[in-house]
């Protein structure tokens, strides 16, 4: 758990964050425009640092090679495009395919990073809360399964360890091991059934199944959430309209379109940058509020 994340995003309602990140992921997935991709990628990296702290540097060790490999693979395998840079094994490596590789790989990475942000902020209980508001039964099933998975995983290892001392797993060979695993699995199922009986009793003893179940609302939508969501909705709709009006059309093949700086397109860039920066602004705002309240003490 990272403390910075908690402080910066604890004030936001999970729904606000979820909608914002969904917007980022959707726009990030469908817009193949170098400037858009650059904006999305830049802010995704910044928010990742806010969410994960220094440990994100370690994760970058994985993301960077991923980026380079995906970027390089396109010109190596795709030879369309009008401008050959040089020839490899008699096949042209084109300028267009290279640019396409760089941009599409950036798009991939930005979506990946926004998903990473989602994972960091939207913890399981926030998700269960969101689902449970609309569909209480599914919410309960989710929370019960989230409890069962680690329990049964531990039990599986426990049984395995104990059985290994009885010599049941000493047999090598693929078939013998599969047979052993099947026996072990059936023991685990028996165990699960037995414990489910008691869990069921504990549930009905606490009135589960009575009519009129309610649920605890942990998060409240505050005025600030509404402002945040409205701003987000405005930029999102404006960008969709902009796409429909062809402001951000872009072509890689046969030749790369030069980046235009007409007022419509520039407007789109600014709107998208504003939207992508929302979580960064939120973190900065929280920091400022904290510093200000400290300075008054």
């Amino acid at each position: 758990m990272n403390t910075k994340e908690k402080f910066a995003y604890a004030a936001l309602h999970p729904l606000t964050v979820a909608l914002h990140l969904l917007g980022q992921i959707i726009l990030g997935m469908f817009i193949m425009h170098p400037v858009f991709v650059a904006i999305s990628l830049f802010f995704a990296v910044v928010v990742c640092f806010f969410v994960c702290g220094k440990s994100f540097l370690k994760e970058l060790k994985f993301y960077l090679p991923f980026y380079i490999i995906v970027a390089l693979s396109n010109p190596l395998f795709s030879h369309s495009g009008a401008t050959p840079l040089f020839f490899l094994n008699g096949k042209p490596i084109t300028y267009e395919a290279t640019i396409y590789g760089i941009v599409s790989s950036g798009m991939f990475l930005s979506v990946l990073l926004w998903c990473r942000v989602w994972n960091g902020i939207m913890t399981e209980d926030k998700l269960v809360f969101l689902v449970g508001r609309r569909l209480p039964k599914i919410g309960l099933v989710l929370t019960i399964s989230l409890r069962m998975i680690p329990r049964f995983r531990n039990k599986w290892w426990e049984i395995r360890e104990v059985q290994s001392t009885l010599g049941d797993f000493a047999e090598s060979g693929f078939i013998a091991q599969i047979k052993g695993a099947v026996k072990l699995f059936s023991a685990l199922i028996t165990h699960a059934m037995e414990s489910a009986v008691e869990t069921g009793m504990s549930m009905s003893a606490r009135g589960y199944g009575l009519k009129g179940r309610s649920s605890l609302v942990l998060y409240k939508i505050r005025p600030y959430d509404i402002v945040f969501m409205c701003g987000n909705l405005f930029t999102f709709v404006a960008i969709i309209v902009g796409i429909a009006m062809g402001f951000i059309d872009y072509q890689f093949y046969p030749t790369v379109t030069p980046v235009e700086c007409g007022s419509g397109t520039t407007g789109m860039f600014v709107l998208f940058a504003m939207q992508s920066a929302l979580l960064v602004l939120q973190a900065i705002k929280e920091e400022a509020v904290w510093k200000y309240s400290r300075s008054r003490i």
């Binding site: 008691e198 504990s202 003893a205």
Partner: protein
């Protein structure tokens, strides 16, 4: 005012003629703390389930159960759910949700409380029970004691007027168990909640209870204040169940009022004169069976070490017990001895050979046998008979367990599971037996039997890890404490328990300063010239 009244209750499960409850009558007044005692299988759990309408099993029920003057049949499910709180044995199985806060809210959500009321009550309850520090945690990360406390707290969120607890401490270590019991006492005295508790450990519970009921063959055979009942049952087979102080009173002439707590026991003993000294037997040092040399271990690379340079030597043929609080690394150490986990530094040597270099075959064939905390993990098959093999079956029949051979291992009681597991392991003809918490969930009769069995296993070296100090004191040749990832050098139990002030048996607490080196009831009786 009477809160619960049971009149002439008879019950048999559907498909069976056997009357589990047979004319049971019991009356509990508001605000009372009542302890129900009965041997395993006497029908306590059935009684509890009948009181709680939602849990009533299928079967034929006759007689009357009145809750707050209202007949059970007329009681609505909501009234029953809200009025009677119910806590069961297993800390693991009772928790429903994945987060602590959600578990606390669960009961109130079921009853449809408005959200504001739920959050106010959750806050209040988590403060009262001291749950706040782990409020945001996943329920999987909690210890057994914390889980049981959470279950109790969750039940208390709707403030039921009657609290029923079915052996809530059976799977907790003694320190967590005492903490749990004192929380219940607090609920009873601070909030006036009526408590009906079923418990094997009368030692801790009797001094705080208002009344005790003893249940036999589906009936209440004794009911009254702890002192009255203890006096009455002191003659029969229940003598073993009595608290140590009462046992001493019983065997030493029964003068004056019967003492129940350690304090009363000391007062009682101080009026007596000791006749014999307890001699500490010499340590027998035989061949070394098992050795740990500077063993270090941790589960994950980034975690703290569980074992920090643990050293120990176990001699051939002795019973070596290790006690210590939760999380002291006892169970982990046993896993290292069993070769399940490997130390990252140091050596575990078994009969002259380094475990790390031994093959599974060599390690487990007629060499080491390991009894895990949950004996059920030893069983993979559907019938006890299939698990035990021919030889095991004949042993089981000799031990009077012939009837159980066709049952499913999960259907056995805790004591029976433990026995079957032991038979299965002894079948492997081990030279070293490693036992992890062998007395967990056993009543004192099964415990005594287990102690006798272990002592009779000549030639087998036994290492046992336990929370049960009385048990460790009575069976072991040497006994030691594990603390901070290290094993302290082990003396004889007479020295160990008489030198400890807090971590010791009740008998040692009673005899402190009056009879040196006495750590069991038998030794005190011997010291005061009352052998029999």
């Amino acid at each position: 005012m009477e809160i619960l009244s049971i009149k002439d209750l008879t019950f048999s499960y559907s498909g069976s003629d056997k009357k589990v409850l047979n004319g049971l009558t019991l009356s509990i007044n508001e605000g009372e703390f009542v302890v129900l005692y009965g041997k395993t299988g006497c029908g306590k759990s059935t009684l509890f389930k009948l009181i709680k309408k939602e849990l009533t099993p299928a079967g034929v029920e006759n007689g009357e159960i009145l809750f707050k003057g209202k007949n059970k049949k007329e009681l609505s499910l909501r009234e029953s759910a809200e009025g009677i709180g119910f806590v069961m044995q297993s800390p693991e199985n009772q928790i429903v949700t994945d987060r602590v806060w959600h578990e606390l809210a669960f009961y109130m959500e079921n009853l449809g409380y408005p959200s504001e009321k739920i959050s106010a009550r959750v806050g209040e309850v988590s403060n009262y029970f001291g749950i706040t520090p782990w409020f945001g945690k996943d329920t999987v990360c909690l210890s057994g004691g914390e889980k049981q406390l959470l279950t109790l707290a969750s039940v208390m969120t709707v403030s039921p007027s009657l609290l029923i607890l079915d052996e809530p401490t059976a799977r907790l270590d003694p320190i967590a168990a005492n903490g749990f019991l004192s929380t219940i006492k607090r609920l009873n005295s601070e909030l006036g909640i009526t408590v009906l508790l079923c418990e094997h450990r009368l030692e801790e519970v009797l001094p705080i209870a208002d009344k005790i009921a003893v249940m036999e063959e589906g009936k209440i055979s004794y009911y009254g204040s702890p002192r009255e009942v203890c006096k009455k049952i002191a003659d029969g087979e229940y003598e073993k169940v009595l608290p140590t102080a009462a046992k001493l009173w019983n065997k030493m002439g029964r003068e004056g009022e019967i003492p129940l707590s350690v304090k009363e026991g000391r007062e009682y003993l101080s009026k007596m004169e000791s006749k014999n000294q307890i001699t500490v037997t010499e340590e027998k040092k035989g061949e070394v069976a098992l050795e740990m040399k500077n063993v270090w271990f941790r589960y994950e690379k980034k975690e703290e070490d569980v074992l920090k340079g643990a050293d120990a030597t176990v001699f051939s043929g002795e019973i070596f017990s290790i006690v210590g609080g939760n999380g002291s690394g006892k169970s982990t150490m046993l896993k290292l001895l069993a070769g399940i986990k490997k130390p990252y530094r140091g050596k575990v040597i078994i009969r002259g050979k380094n475990v790390a270099r031994m093959k599974k075959e060599e390690l487990y064939r007629n060499n080491i046998a390991y009894l895990p905390q949950d004996p059920l993990t030893l069983f993979l098959r559907d019938k006890v008979a299939d698990e035990l093999g021919e030889e095991g079956k004949s042993i089981a029949e000799k031990m009077g367990m012939g009837k159980l051979l066709n049952s499913h291992p999960h259907d056995l009681s805790g004591g029976e599971q433990q026995k079957c597991a032991l038979i299965k392991l002894l079948n492997l003809k081990p030279k070293i037996l490693l036992l992890d918490e062998p007395t967990k969930g056993l009543d004192c009769f099964s415990k005594e039997e287990l102690g006798r069995t272990l002592k009779s296993l000549n030639g087998i070296t036994i290492v046992l890890v336990t929370h049960d100090l009385e048990f460790a004191a009575s069976v072991s040749d040497r006994c030691t404490l594990m603390f901070g990832g290290e094993i302290l050098p082990p003396p004889r139990p007479e020295n160990f328990f008489s030198e400890n002030n807090y971590y010791t048996t009740s008998a040692a607490r009673i005899g402190r300063g009056m009879l040196p080196h006495a750590v069991t009831t038998e030794q005190i009786l011997f010291g005061y010239g009352n052998e029999n």
